[in-house]
Symmetry: C2
DNA sequence: ACGCAATTCGCATCAATTGCTAATTAGCAA
DNA sequence: TTGCTAATTAGCAATTGATGCGAATTGCGT
């Protein structure tokens, strides 16, 4: 995801308006590696801006996802997680605390057993116990 | 997942009863590689047994999952998919028709960038266009 | 500063799944 | 075979994450 300043330009160029609510979400998401859910972002946003609507949080997240500025990922944890890191990477999910960490793999593994499938992308999810929960 | 006959034994040994509804689901699931949702299974079951409850389908699927006879997988398609194949394999999901295919990878790729994470398992989801939809 | 289209926000709605419970039934034992 | 008892069924209510809707508000180009 680009910086709040760059997003402001991008939104206006697309015909979208830049409201205080959106600016706040830009700031909360930029450089955020915690893979927050909409609920968590709503809680964070509410601290800085009491009265902001959960509906607006969803709206802005969807706009950002549509623009390719962040990706919405379903880890099966009940609610979607949002990741402003759209570069090539994978995820490790802790079975204990639910935290999602960014990881990298050398290269995408080849699959076999299916002819003629045109692969667009591959997502890998590692599950286990993170360092914090192991101690 | 084991055969309907073997499951019958396993259920009784666990103190669970083997009802006609469950026997039907055993048959519908055994050897099934279509990764059906609860809804689809309910539709199939309803053909053979009109009046069967969706609640019962969920109940039996949960029982089977608890016993390790099948796995419930969330591909982010809105509803859980059920896979009676519990051997080591991965999945390819068609972005066009939503079909889920079983695939295999030579070995799980090593991840880097996260120290002290104890990996229990890794799931890989390939997304793209299947052979049928490409033509 | 104006005007219009975009946005906000609260509420209703939706879809997938689970909770609850009265009526039924499987399966063991006599 | 019969009876007993705990498990199961089925229908409906409830729950949760997310979206549709619409009136009031507000960005922002002119």
């Amino acid at each position: 995801m680009r910086s709040p300043a760059e997003l402001t330009q991008a939104f206006r160029q697309t015909g979208l308006k830049v409201t205080p609510q959106r600016q706040l979400l830009f700031r909360l998401l930029h450089g955020n590696t915690s893979h927050p859910s909409a609920d968590v972002l709503f809680a964070l946003a509410s601290e800085a801006m009491p009265g902001i609507s959960l509906r607006t949080v969803y709206q802005t997240l969807n706009d950002l996802a549509t623009m390719g500025e962040l990706q919405s990922i379903d880890f099966g944890t009940g609610s979607a997680r949002f990741d402003p890191n759209v570069t090539d990477h994978q995820h490790a999910v802790c079975n204990e605390c639910g935290a999602v960490h960014d990881v990298h793999v050398s290269r995408a593994p080849k699959m076999s057993g299916l002819e003629g499938f045109d692969i667009h992308d591959a997502h890998i999810v590692y599950r286990g116990i993170c360092a914090d929960c192991a101690s």
